[in-house]
Symmetry: C2
Subunit: 165 residues, 2 copies
């Protein structure tokens, strides 16, 4: 099973190293990690995707809670949350192939954010399946470079992962 | 000065901990870090934003190069690259405020990806300035939750950060 954790942490040097180190030392496999600031500059939010059974996850949460810089941990359920990641694809494109690539971009509601004489850069957001599907379609044109963020996720509706303000 | 590094690493457990640990031990400040898979499942790509003078950056690159899991490091110039990050904002919204919030969403070419009776979730991509500008505008409606990825970046045109295939 894959679990998605939203972790609020103090925005201090070394926090990422401590969190990542905890996973590494215990041999827990991180599938994806994304970290960014929140509306409070002193607090960052990490979205961590971990693979394992329920016991492993309970252990992970217990261990994370022991770190002094961790403020709050929530497990997000796939059904009740929205999840997104962002990818940039640089693809070979000339005047001949550009129109069909632009069609694919339209279908996926992606955006072309750079055009060169022999290449394009495409920006796409979505869940992993959508981004993977686009990547498969682009492969036949020649993918020159890929850059992806980890997944971020948020509960639908009013239920929020937040700190006491 | 802020520097953006694109780092290709082996997709193995513990690599993130080693990279983050290197920065923490030397007291280098990471402004943002994003990590995701590439088109080769054995290779991940990190985008790391570091603050410091040129000497610090040279040191960072030298140290990173010593890690066995690091395959390639490139420094991206702001002028010659595109950079993007992704953010989700959950905002208070009722039937009265929803139309004006939707206007803001349109202006920023953002997307509404969840609607509740009292809240909305907005997805936006762009550079940091754009995302910060939207956050400032949304603040007056009540931001309930924020989740952001780190920045990812890519050279414009054919110049690519890639490994030997």
């Amino acid at each position: 099973m894959r679990y998605t954790l939203a972790v609020l942490v103090e925005n201090k040097p070394g926090v990422l190293a401590r969190v990542a180190g905890l996973f590494a030392r215990r041999g827990y496999n991180i599938d994806s990690l994304a970290v960014g600031v929140t509306d409070n500059p002193e607090i960052s939010r990490m979205t961590i995707v971990v693979r394992g059974d329920e016991k492993v996850i309970e252990q992970v949460i217990k261990q994370l809670n022991k770190l002094v810089d961790v403020i709050k941990i929530s497990m997000l359920s796939e059904k009740e949350s929205v999840e997104r990641s962002l990818a940039l694809f640089k693809v070979s494109a000339d005047s001949k192939t550009r129109p069909t690539i632009m069609q694919i971009v339209d279908i996926f509601r992606a955006k072309i954010i750079d055009v060169g004489s022999k290449s394009l850069i495409i920006e796409i957001t979505g869940d992993e399946d959508k981004i993977n599907a686009m990547e498969r379609l682009l492969r036949s044109y020649g993918i020159l470079e890929v850059c992806r963020t980890g997944k971020i996720a948020m509960n639908r509706g009013l239920k929020s992962v937040s700190y006491e303000k």
